[in-house]
């Protein structure tokens, strides 16, 4: 099967960037847990969660092959669209300064303090460290699984490129974690989320169209046009939202009647 670069390349990039965002969030917590409660239990917790996630991927991957492709494209495309547009909407509002940016350094400090309050020192086997690392890896990892399945299941042969993107993101984060050994506060998270939101929205729109049986002009290359169009709209919406917003003092806000 001849899969164009437009499809394969963008699948890998979308999966890589989306997974990178989730991996950064997980790494922040695992670093906080490991540095305070001990690395052994934290790393075993993360490794256990990854093993559970791999089992989920294996089970869902097999089941997905039995569903007719157009139904899969419509279903997955709709989910991807809901996911991508939600992500893009939040990224626009963050870029416009209307909602706060996610601060990895603040998250690291908060988790470190929470762990310190629960213990006086690292133990050889630590249930709290295991559970905390397991939970965060499971939560963020589940999101990665959904991203991979959503990107990979919409088109035959795309599961492998999408999986490679996610694995590449995981390896990059592990390497960065080993080198930096610190939260990755310098990663411009909202910029990543902005790009990921654009990519997922474009993919979602394309696959919904494919699932509905719409013939896209220029076939798979339409994805690039959709990416450009969503990017242009999102960039245009940032200053519009900024100009439309108006702040009110907190004491007057409390007097307003809920609508």
């Amino acid at each position: 099967m001849n899969l164009g670069w437009a499809h394969t390349g963008t699948s890998v990039i979308a999966s890589f960037l989306a997974s990178l965002v989730e991996c950064v969030e997980a790494l922040t917590v695992v670093l906080a847990v490991g540095s305070v409660r001990g690395w052994r239990s934290a790393l075993i917790g993360s490794a256990t969660a990854i093993a559970v996630l791999l089992a989920i991927i294996a089970a869902l991957g097999t089941a997905l092959t039995r569903v007719p492709l157009h139904i899969l494209q419509l279903t997955v495309g709709t989910l991807l669209l809901l996911f991508g547009l939600r992500w893009l909407r939040k990224a626009i509002l963050r870029a416009a300064g209307l909602i706060s940016l996610h601060d990895e350094q603040a998250a690291f400090t908060k988790n470190t303090e929470a762990m310190r309050q629960l213990t006086h020192g690292p133990a050889p086997w630590d249930k709290i460290a295991f559970a905390a690392a397991f939970n965060i890896t499971m939560l963020e990892g589940t999101e990665v699984v959904f991203i991979v399945i959503a990107i990979g299941a919409g088109h035959a042969g795309m599961l492998l490129p999408a999986s490679l993107g996610a694995v590449a993101a995981l390896l990059v984060i592990i390497a960065l974690g080993l080198i930096l050994h610190r939260p990755l506060a310098r990663v411009p998270e909202n910029t990543l989320k902005f790009i990921v939101g654009v990519l997922l929205s474009a993919f979602g729109t394309f696959w919904v169209g494919e699932g509905m049986g719409l013939p896209w002009p220029a076939a798979d290359w339409s994805i690039l046009a959709l990416i450009a169009a969503y990017l242009a709209i999102a960039l245009a919406l940032v200053p519009i939202c900024r100009s439309r917003s108006h702040s009110v003092p907190s004491n007057t806000r409390t007097l307003r009647t809920p609508q």
Binding site: L81, M138, P215, H246
Partner: protein, 73 residues
């Protein structure tokens, strides 16, 4: 099993943040799927119509959020 409940809640939250935004997207998809074959529009334009509606929903939702009173920091 609390972690499972948390994961399910997290998964739902992946797709639905603002209920009216998610509902508008779903309604638009249903409209495009059911109505466009009966409107005599060229099938090549349907993709553009699908995208335009989604872009308008995104714009309306973000601008509506921006117009809400924001707490001064």
């Amino acid at each position: 099993m609390k972690w499972l409940k948390t994961i399910l809640h997290e998964i739902f939250g992946l797709f639905v943040d603002d209920a009216s935004f998610a509902l508008a997207i779903l309604l638009w998809l249903v409209l495009v799927k059911t109505l466009t074959p009966h409107l005599g529009i060229s099938t090549r334009c349907t993709g553009v119509i699908l995208f335009t509606g989604l872009a308008l929903i995104l714009a309306e939702s973000t601008i509506r959020y921006a117009k809400r009173p924001q707490q001064r920091k």
